[in-house]
Each structure stands twice: as structure tokens, then as C-alpha cells.
């Protein structure tokens, strides 16, 4: 995504993609109050949650990509992402106002984020989605490399922009949507890991970066989770708090460095 948006700060959380997934999940988990209780319990299966979250992220992503093609400014894009975040947050809070306490609790716990408490069938659905997303991404490696030069150069290298955009959106939507559905909207991992990998491998080649990100993302997340579980104590902190504690300084560091616009 950072390559697509030519933007070192792009990531599912910053651009509001995770918020979109939250909105999808919120409508599913709490929208029952609006539609009627029976329908909600019927639809709140795992598959439904995945689909709802994926749809939510697709929707926001598609709008952000559309807007991004209109504005070329890095900063404007980030502000737009923030605004989408606020918009979806507002819709979610309206939903929570009408939701009953049990539904609300379910949703709140979901937003804390958690990498535990999944049944094997849930892990199965998640794996299938991740597999599909990763396979599409592997197919996009060459295209993404040409995007490093900018869109015009990518066209002159024989890349069809519209088609590539479409597949990048599909892959991101599936990956972000499925992960968010099961683990909750976890902040900053998506943004920070690619940068850490670029530093570690000093490369921008997606043939190196894609597998690197696939490995280092989970490693960083599990580290955060270990901290969240606080060994030798009974407390379990919300993982989102930990990832934000790690991720926010990275974003600040990037902004300070951004004078050179390196990604």
C-alpha cells in the first residue's frame, strides 16, 4: 500500500481501512438492535464476520484509492484517511448507542484486539483468506516494483494501472478484512513492519520485502502479545495498547525523517 500510494505513512490503520473493517464488524455485531435480534444471532457466524469486515475495508479502500487519484498530495491523503477513520468511528458510536449492553461488550472486547481465543475452524477461515491474499500479492510483486518509479513510468513499462489497482485493492481488502475480523483492529503493525523490513534488508524490492513482511509482522505482533500477556501476572492488557506504544513512536520518527520522503 505504501508503494501504491507513494506514501511512506500509508497503512491499513492510518488510511482508515481498519476502521472500515470495524464498521463492517460493528454493523454485524451491534446492528441487530436496528434490524431485529433474531437476524443478528443468525448472521453473527465467523464467515459472516469475515465477510462484513472485508466488505467494510473494501469500501473504505476503494473510496480512498478514488480520492487518492484526485489529490496527489501526501499530507492530504493522510488527512482524508483520518477523516474516514473519524467518520466510521462516528457511525460505530451511533450504533453502540442503540446497541444493548451485551452486544456492546462483545464489540468493545473485539476492538481491544486479541490474537488468542480462536477456534480451529476460525483459524481455518483465516488461513484460507490469508492464503488467497498472499497469492494475489505474490502475483503483484513485479507490478509493485514498477510502481516504485511512479505511475507514468509503470505505464511505460507495460503495466495496466487500472487492473493492478483493482488487484491491489482486492488483496489488501481480503488481508486487512480477514485479520481485523478475527484479531480486532490492531494499530500500527501494518505501518511499522514494512519500514522495519526496509531498514533490516536495505532493499525496496518487493521480492525481498513481501516474504520479509510476512515473517516479521507476526514476529513483532507475537512480541507485543507476549508483553500484553505480562508474564508472571494474571493481567492481560489489550494488545492494541502495546502495538500503539511501539508503533506511534515509529510514525513520529518517520514524520521527522519524511523531509527526504524515503520509503
Amino acid at each position: 500500500m505504501q508503494t501504491l500510494f507513494r506514501n511512506p505513512l500509508a497503512g491499513p490503520f492510518v488510511l482508515g481501512i481498519s476502521s472500515g473493517a470495524s464498521l463492517g464488524a460493528a454493523i454485524l455485531l451491534m446492528g441487530g438492535a436496528l434490524v431485529g435480534g433474531a437476524a443478528a444471532t443468525y448472521f453473527s457466524g465467523d464467515v459472516a464476520l469475515t465477510i462484513a469486515a472485508s466488505l467494510g475495508s473494501f469500501l473504505v479502500l476503494a473510496v480512498v484509492v478514488y480520492v487518492a487519484s484526485k489529490v496527489r498530495d501526501t499530507l492530504a491523503l493522510l488527512i482524508i484517511g483520518l477523516m474516514f477513520g473519524s467518520l466510521t468511528a462516528a457511525l460505530v458510536s451511533i450504533l453502540s448507542y442503540f446497541a444493548d449492553s451485551e452486544e456492546l461488550q462483545r464489540f468493545i472486547f473485539w476492538t481491544f484486539g486479541s490474537v488468542g481465543n480462536l477456534s480451529w475452524s476460525q483459524v481455518g477461515i483465516l488461513s484460507i483468506c490469508v492464503m488467497i491474499g498472499v497469492l494475489i500479492s505474490i502475483g503483484l510483486i513485479k507490478t509493485l516494483n514498477s510502481f516504485l518509479l511512479g505511475e507514468q513510468y509503470a505505464i511505460s513499462l507495460g503495466v495496466s494501472i487500472a487492473r493492478s489497482r483493482f488487484w491491489i485493492i482486492i488483496a489488501t481488502g481480503i488481508l486487512a478484512g480477514a485479520v481485523t475480523a478475527f484479531a480486532g483492529p490492531i494499530a500500527f503493525i501494518g505501518l511499522a513492519v514494512p519500514h522495519l523490513c526496509r531498514q533490516l534488508f536495505s532493499s525496496t524490492d518487493h521480492r525481498v520485502l513481501l516474504p520479509a513482511v510476512l515473517l516479521y509482522g507476526p514476529i513483532l505482533l507475537l512480541l507485543c502479545d507476549t508483553v500484553a500477556q505480562m508474564p508472571s501476572s494474571a493481567y492481560v492488557l489489550p494488545i492494541n495498547a502495546i502495538t500503539s506504544l511501539v508503533g506511534a513512536p515509529i510514525v513520529i520518527w518517520l514524520l521527522v525523517r519524511k523531509r527526504k520522503m524515503i520509503f
Binding site: T3, R6, G139, I141, K142, N145, S146, F147, L148, L149, G150, Q152, Y153, I155, S156, L157, G158, V159, S160, R198, T204, D205, R207, K260, M261, I262, F263
Partner: protein
């Protein structure tokens, strides 16, 4: 290899009325030519080059290579015919010189972009031809404007196309580097037998170094060798406001010193 433009009209498609930037551009040029596109600011040089490169559709008329309209070529086929060096900054400068030039080989690599032995030889040739071997491991944001411009030309050269199009390659360069760069372009055109078309504001240099010029002004465009264009007064019409004028004797533009 022959590039032919037929009553080409360039501009932008708009909802109500198309915005025509320039009309009736017509010429034919072949491999080995170094064609300079000159004209004042905002006359449509970039639009022309973008249309030529197939990055935007023409409003009317056609651009064809060896009789084949480029509008009918697939993006992949087109990428093996025409390469470009644009004024847009590249999206990331966090690439080494070698990596950047390697990206020029994309039309020839497999689905993962793996470089074959042939690709590597080609890249080495480009590096040595443009004297970039010493800096091939450097990262692009460390380079000077002149070096970066040479690297971008290297990338286009690695794409190994019969036509190379450059939009203001001499921008931001000092006189020495401008002359160097244009000489490099000249030698690429003649030695590697490629057609090079570039826009520039260095009219005096272009008159001396180009084999052909395309002069764009409000009334249209005229094409020919620099001498022919001097003969038929095309260059004099380039800047109608008399601020600068063309001096036939020195074959260059000049201006009157303030009284």
C-alpha cells in the same frame, strides 16, 4: 524503424469541449535521428511527448511505428517500442542506481521480474556506456541532479526500445552538464541507431546538436533540420513578443541589452 505522425491533434478530453493544445502536427522521423522539441512555456511540449509515448490518447490523428498505430499495441508491446524519461520525480529514491536501471528490463523479465543473464549483460552495457559503474551501488537520493538524470536515461536505455522520449532532460543542469547530456543523447542516437525525441529550453544548444527540430508555436508546429528551419523563418516565430529574437548570423537567439 520509422516513426510517423499524421495530422496529430493533442490535448485533453473534457466533458463539453475538448481542450486542444496543438493541432496538425505532422512529420516522419527514423532511427538515428536526434529530434529536439522546442517552444515557449505552456505551448504543449510535455503533452505532445506524452501523446507520442502513448501515455495519453491523441484527440485526432495517429502516431505510428513502421506503419503500425501505437494505439493498437498492447501495453506490453508498446513498452518494448518506446521508453520515456519524464519530469515527474520518481516515487521513491530509495533504490540503488543498479536497481533503478534493472527496472528498465521489466518488459523482458518473467512474472516475478527475475533478471536473466541477457538482462544482466544489458544492464552492464548501459552502466559502462553512461559511465555509471562507479556509482552503481549508490542510492539515488545521494546523487546530484546530473547523475540522477544520467541514471534515468540509463533506465530508458536498458528498456532497449527503438524510440526514447525525454521530457526536458536538461532541466536543473548547469551548462557543462547540459552539453554533456545532449552529446550523450546524440551518440546514443547515432551509435545505437535509436530515435531520440526530447523537449528542451536550450534552443541554442539544440540548434547545434540536434539533427532535426520540431518548433511548436501557437499556430502549429514545423519540423525540419535546424538549417532548414532557420531558412524558412520558423525559428523567428518562436517568440513573437520581440523580447528575444533570432540572429541569422550566429544561428542563435539573442536579446537587446538594456539601454
Amino acid at each position: 524503424m520509422q516513426l510517423t505522425l499524421e495530422s496529430l491533434s493533442i490535448g485533453y478530453l473534457q466533458k463539453h469541449e475538448d481542450l486542444v493544445v496543438c493541432d496538425g502536427i505532422q512529420f516522419s522521423s527514423s532511427a538515428g535521428d536526434l529530434v529536439g522539441v522546442i517552444g515557449s512555456n505552456g505551448i504543449g511540449k510535455s503533452t505532445f511527448l506524452r501523446t507520442l509515448a502513448g501515455l495519453q490518447p491523441p484527440l485526432k490523428g495517429s502516431v505510428s511505428l513502421d506503419g503500425q498505430n501505437i494505439a493498437g499495441l498492447s501495453p506490453k508491446d508498446l513498452s518494448r517500442k518506446i521508453s520515456v524519461v519524464l519530469t515527474d520525480p520518481i516515487a521513491t529514491k530509495n533504490l540503488t542506481v543498479r536497481e533503478l536501471i534493472s527496472l528498465g528490463r521489466q518488459p523482458y523479465t518473467n512474472w516475478l521480474g527475475t533478471l536473466s543473464r541477457e538482462d544482466l549483460t544489458k544492464i552492464d552495457q548501459v552502466l559502462s556506456m553512461l559511465q555509471l559503474e562507479d556509482i552503481q551501488k549508490r542510492i539515488c537520493y545521494e546523487l546530484s541532479d546530473g547523475q540522477l538524470q544520467r541514471v534515468m536515461i540509463g533506465r530508458a536505455l536498458a528498456q532497449d526500445t527503438p524510440v526514447i522520449i525525454l521530457d526536458e532532460p536538461t532541466m536543473h543542469l548547469d551548462l557543462v552538464h547540459k552539453v554533456q547530456l545532449l552529446k550523450i543523447l546524440g551518440s546514443i542516437a547515432s551509435e545505437l541507431h535509436k530515435l531520440i525525441i526530447f523537449s528542451t529550453h536550450e534552443i541554442n544548444l539544440a540548434i547545434q546538436l540536434c539533427s532535426h527540430l520540431l518548433v511548436m508555436n501557437k499556430n502549429g508546429a514545423s519540423f525540419g533540420s535546424p538549417d532548414a528551419l532557420i531558412q524558412n523563418d520558423s525559428l523567428q516565430q518562436l517568440f513573437p513578443d520581440k523580447e528575444v529574437f533570432f540572429d541569422q548570423k550566429s544561428k542563435s537567439f539573442t536579446f537587446e541589452a538594456a539601454p
